[in-house]
């Protein structure tokens, strides 16, 4: 079952490359949350029961429900519908996702360490690469937060890939995800939307001399 969720997670990355609607970005983040919940449920049951329940609750509540709900609120507040500002064609983005998956797969095999779970590492690393790519190609700060969350989800998977001996770190990372990545940045998106009447990154360039 873990493999199924990992493959589904990889498919969400391809859907991110295909999508142009902001609503779909939020929906995909919600799906990624569910995939992470499934991965944790089927693979982390050997850790201490308190940590296990805590991580499960965080993935289902925070990643699958609260974060998408809050982002949806931010989306509606700023009347965001379609992200049209990417300069890169969708076709090219799909190639990037596929290449990042292939590269990550070969990298995990090249590293060939007992401490690395290859099945997680491939998707985790691809998710981080794609998250950075997502931020670069989009010129809207809302999409930047989505890209940041893709990186964070990748980092979460990576922490599973390097062994689940440190669940405390995973928990802390998720808590900080929520605090920094969504709540604070989300509030600032609203403020920028109100002050600049747009959430496009071009508006934010007055600080240069």
């Amino acid at each position: 079952m873990t493999y199924l969720f990992i493959i589904l997670y990889a498919i969400t990355l391809i859907y991110f490359a295909l999508s142009e609607r902001v609503k779909k970005f939020v929906w995909l983040l919600c799906m990624q949350g569910f995939m992470l919940f499934g991965i944790v449920f089927f693979s982390l049951h050997k850790i201490e029961i308190f940590d296990f329940i805590f991580i499960l609750t965080e993935t289902i509540l925070v990643k699958s429900l609260i974060v998408p709900w809050f982002l949806n609120k931010v989306r509606k507040h700023n009347q965001l519908k379609r992200i049209q500002e990417t300069s890169v064609p969708v076709f090219f983005s799909i190639i990037v996702v596929v290449l990042s998956l292939i590269f990550s797969f070969f990298l995990s095999n090249f590293l060939n360490s007992n401490q690395i779970h290859t099945k997680y590492f491939t998707v985790a690393f691809a998710s981080i690469i794609f998250g950075i790519y997502f931020i670069i190609i989009h010129k809207n700060i809302f999409s930047h937060v989505v890209g940041y969350l893709i990186i964070e989800n990748g980092t979460f998977l990576l922490s599973l890939a390097v062994g689940s001996v440190m669940p405390m770190m995973v928990n802390l990372a998720i808590l900080l995800d929520v605090l920094m990545g969504v709540l604070v940045l989300g509030v600032f998106i609203n403020r920028i939307g109100d002050a600049f009447e747009s959430t496009k990154i071009d508006q934010l360039s007055s600080l240069k001399d």
């Binding site: 937060v145 990186i151 390097v162 604070v184 002050a195 007055s206 600080l207 001399d209």
Partner: protein
């Protein structure tokens, strides 16, 4: 009764052995009190109490040097040094914050938010200095990003919003990168039986670590923390943030927060130093240091605002610190010395900039001038600051830079010539810009005629610049001993 005595002692030791936790809880209490009460007296009383507690913690940590404070903290020499620096700077920063807020706003809610966040920001930095666990250090650094963002946004202007967004977002991405580095390090740590990421354990196990993973972790952590220490590659957002933040906040951002970034990189450097990959890491640091100075020089030719000028000057100085680490040996000693002196000088310069801002309607370089005539005492403080920041004798920075260049030439690094040329250009630009402020004619309509000269405002600057001269010329034994203790593990 006697049989109970050891138990009581153990209990007391256990309680005192959590001094930083007690300090954090106390700071939280003060911060919440300020935030809820929104009362002037509560503000000043809480800030005074916090300053006293900070000095008390500094003395306590010095007395208990090299001792653990719970399993999460350790009072090591570097932490003690930087906490002492922060204690002094915080005291002055609170005073200048009082002046800044008095001039800027009468809104009690905003003032309460400011003081409340400033206390949390300082507490997060203290926690980072003493963090014994790499994951805890990362959490503390993330906390500093959050608190400093609130302080950057204090003025609630469009520019503040832009600066805050950029800082928060890039910091988050940078720290996510650093976190990936920490995860990679945890792989090699667990391969060697270390499961808790404590620095002491990591350093002990470093010799047997797989070099490839250590290299990857080092590069990722260095890249992520470059946001904090203001060096290449993620330096830009810190510059923008410093352009907007209030000068007392800037005084801490450009010094104590930069020191937090240094602590993270230095702890990683100590781990790398135990492996055979040290020379490779030193080459990376050399490249980053030289590139930082090069970019700072190019950007300094373009700057039009004093805050940006000082921000890029910090980048140049951190470039020198990074080069010091890259050289190793005496270079590391010089790097820590330079870091401390830079903290004093740069904070003093920002405090002085706050006073200058009061006399002019704008802080753009072209809109200022004739400062010697407007505020002679402030101008003398500024001149002293310029001499210090340019590392001209008797500034302590001259001593630390001399040590760095001596070590560079001794190890036949010809890159020293390029760095010297770049520093000469920086000296020329900074002198030119500040000479404009001190001596150039300024139109009457650009002056703030309601501004009053407050001679007490200059006291902190004279103390800080005086300290840099004194510590450079005649450093006390305990001071040099602390630096030697901080680098002892490398010898």
């Amino acid at each position: 009764m006697l049989s109970k005595a050891p138990k009581l002692t153990n209990y007391l030791v256990l309680k005192i052995n959590m001094m930083i936790f007690i300090f954090i809880i106390f700071a939280l209490f003060l911060s919440i009190s300020i935030f809820i009460s929104r009362n002037k007296l509560v503000n000043y009383f809480s800030v005074s109490l916090f300053s006293i507690a900070l000095f008390a913690l500094t003395i306590y940590s010095y007395i208990h040097i090299n001792q653990f404070d719970s399993i999460y903290y350790k009072f090591d020499a570097l932490g003690v040094l930087l906490t002492a620096v922060l204690s002094l700077l915080s005291l002055f920063s609170f005073y200048h914050s009082y002046l800044y807020l008095k001039r800027k706003s009468n809104n009690l809610k905003q003032k309460a938010q400011y003081y409340s966040t400033l206390i949390l920001f300082i507490t997060a930095m203290i926690s980072a200095y003493f963090a014994e666990n790499l994951a805890l250090l990362w959490v503390c650094i993330e906390a500093t990003s959050l608190f400093v963002s609130i302080l950057i946004f204090h003025s609630r202007t469009k520019d503040a919003l832009e600066a805050t967004w950029k800082y928060l977002f890039i910091s988050s991405v940078g720290l996510a990168i650093a976190f990936i580095g920490i995860l990679f390090l945890s792989i090699v740590a667990s391969q060697n039986g270390v499961n808790n990421l404590n620095f002491t354990n990591l350093i002990q196990a470093a010799q047997n670590m797989d070099i490839l993973w250590v290299k990857i972790a080092f590069v990722l952590i260095l890249t992520g923390l470059s946001v904090k220490i203001s060096i290449f590659p993620l330096y830009a957002v810190a510059i923008d943030a410093k352009t907007i933040a209030a000068t007392p906040v800037n005084a801490l951002m450009s010094t104590a927060l930069v020191n937090v970034g240094f602590v993270g990189i230095y702890r990683m450097y100590l781990i790398v130093a135990q492996t055979t990959t040290l020379i490779w890491a030193q080459h990376v640091l050399m490249l980053v240091g030289v590139l930082s100075i090069l970019i700072a020089t190019i950007q300094l030719t373009r700057v039009r605002r004093f805050k940006r000028l000082l921000a890029f000057s910090s980048m140049e100085h951190m470039g020198i610190v990074t080069i010091g680490l890259a050289i190793g040996g005496v270079g590391v000693y010089a790097a820590i010395l330079h870091l401390i002196f830079h903290s004093f000088v740069k904070a003093g310069m920002f405090f002085q900039l706050g006073a200058i801002r009061n006399h002019f309607k704008s802080i753009w370089i072209k809109d200022t001038g004739n400062y010697f005539k407007i505020n002679p005492l402030g101008a003398i403080a500024l001149l002293l600051g310029v001499i210090s920041i340019l590392a001209i004798p008797p500034s302590g920075l001259f001593v630390s830079e001399l040590l760095v260049f001596k070590a560079l030439f001794f190890k036949n690094y010809l890159i020293a010539i390029l760095v010297l040329i770049l520093l000469s250009i920086i000296i020329y630009i900074i002198i030119k810009r500040f000479a404009h402020l001190l001596y150039a004619d300024v139109a009457d309509d650009l002056l703030n005629k309601e501004a009053q000269i407050n001679p007490y405002e200059n006291i902190s600057q004279f103390i800080l610049f005086g300290l840099v001269i004194y510590l450079g010329v005649n450093p006390p034994l305990f001071f040099t001993d602390l630096i030697h203790a901080a680098i002892a593990i490398l010898n």
